[in-house]
Symmetry: C2
Subunit: 331 residues, 2 copies
């Protein structure tokens, strides 16, 4: 709202009507954050791309949250250390600052807490935090950057994850065609796309998929009307709370950039948006979408692809003889 | 020489003296190519970063020739499909257009021939060429780009590797401090660095490490004076020619960006430039460099780090329902 107000003032009175309309929609436009600490985000960007945070020296955050591919890996479940098969589909890092909590089961409160997890997880990057910190502290390029950003050269897990989180906060994808439409450019969508959006609203999809991230703001049971059939063993929030009522309750994923973040659902079992829409209709809403309706909703969903992260490929500062060696093949 | 002449004309007569000096040095400056087909190179850049060229959907050219890390992976030997341990150290892709042939043993004549190898190698990306082509042809974003670049929408291995090679030709790293010095800026190097270069010349290192790439222009036996001791089973050119005289004869690697492309030698067994310089002195030149001399040569070598590839992180066109699925864990 605050951002919208500022934009109103600068754009002038003629846009008041469409912006008022936008405010009445269950989905709101998304904007790049304006309060980023660039020094910290720049460190975070390098760390995000740095495979030296992993035991192998081969896997980085970007391996599974690939910013060339919608911030995910487009695999059913991710590849970890030693080619370990991950237990769940990698959620996109794009717009993840909007998540009410992180991971599918919300077990991390925020991006900073999340960032620590995969580094040390034996099935992901498998690097003990102490070693990861030793690696970073051995690299003069990083020490210099931390000194500028944090005031002294101390490299702590708190600072490392803070920097990664600050970078991830920049990974917002504004300016999708749907946002353009919300902000008043009615030519930005075709009539089929608008029909899809209307159907999306009227069918109840917006009960979960609303707000700036078109989701990400609440937990919901997958299989509300009919059970969700899967071989995947994840039980959602139950793993965090232990409450029976939280079985199969997962964070509702954002639908922004959904065209890019296939395969779908927490088990990555569905490859096409068409199938995903039909399954959601049946098990969450008790409704069979016709092929025509499915096509309309999919057309709408594809308008949610926004500007992808746009920055030069990072260059990582080199290791030194003091840097702990990567260990891809050893115990 | 041709490029130098052109630059001479445009820079004017006052630079004649330093440029003549530069021309007399065994190492010559390196310049970005001026004859790139941008449409083809842009496709090649996307393909270079695209893990869908691999069977797993997880490994791309950039996995082992990481352009954030000097065009290599900084591992002893590379990680391939299923976490297969590669047989040899990944050579940098930077300035690889200057290689007299590709791979450590020169088994590919040029960049285009090279590019086909790792895609289908079962221990690398493990993707049959036919499947890789089917993947690319199923992605409208690629089909459109190929049509613009090659005149029609046919996606052939020849075109795919041509595009990757065209991109790789752009990966030249000009403007190192040593190049600045060669081109007349005598303040670009410290006295220690100049002493290191003088020692590098006078000790005979330039017998192999000369020209614009400071190497890459000939084959040489590793262990010319004393045998090279290694557990690595690679036999160099012998694998290509079958000639006994080619045992342990490898392509001389470029020394440009050598500060970034650790670990060193075809077996990746050496982590520091200091150790690499001392071993080379002993086994190639029969000479023991003192610590002082080693430090001087290393100081010189670090002036060979040039401008790293500078372009926005590529965004890959999304798959479609027709795209063959990645298969990271199956047979």
């Amino acid at each position: 709202m605050h951002l919208l107000s500022i934009r109103l003032l600068s754009l002038g009175v003629t846009l008041l009507a469409p912006l008022s309309l936008a405010a009445a929609e269950p989905i709101s436009p998304i904007f790049a954050p304006t309060d980023i600490d660039n020094h910290k985000a720049e460190i975070g960007k390098q760390l995000f791309f740095d495979p030296r945070l992993s035991k192998s020296g081969f896997l980085s955050c970007n391996s599974c949250h690939n910013l060339s591919m919608g911030g995910a890996d487009n695999l059913t479940s991710s590849v970890g250390h030693g080619w370990h098969q991950g237990p769940i589909n990698s959620p996109t890092v794009l717009n993840s600052a909007y998540n009410l909590a992180q991971f599918w089961d919300g077990r991390a409160a925020d991006l900073q807490e999340q960032a620590a997890g995969p580094i040390a997880n034996p099935g992901e990057m498998a690097q003990p935090h102490a070693v990861a910190l030793e690696v970073i502290a051995s690299i003069p390029g990083y020490v210099d950057s931390f000194t500028v950003a944090y005031g002294d050269e101390s490299i702590t897990l708190d600072r490392v994850t803070d920097a990664i989180a600050e970078f991830e906060r920049t990974l917002v994808t504004p300016n999708s065609r749907f946002d353009q439409w919300l902000l008043g450019d009615k030519a930005a969508l075709t009539s089929v796309e608008v029909e899809g959006y209307t159907l999306f609203k009227n069918s109840g999809c917006v009960a979960c998929h609303s707000g700036p991230a078109v989701g990400a703001a609440l937990y919901q049971k997958v299989g509300l009307i009919k059970p969700y059939v899967t071989d995947n063993r994840a039980q959602g929030r139950f793993a965090v709370t232990g409450n029976e009522s939280d079985r199969m309750v997962f964070k509702v994923p954002t639908l922004r950039n959904i065209e890019l973040t296939y395969p779908y659902f927490h088990d990555g079992s569905v490859n096409t948006l068409e199938e995903a829409v039909q399954i959601m209709g049946e098990i969450q809403l008790g409704r069979s979408f016709s092929d025509l309706e499915t096509g309309q909703i999919v057309a709408f969903l594809k308008t949610l692809t926004g500007d992808q992260p746009n920055f030069p490929l990072p260059h990582l500062p080199p290791s030194t003889p003091a840097t702990p060696q990567p260990n891809p093949y050893g115990a």
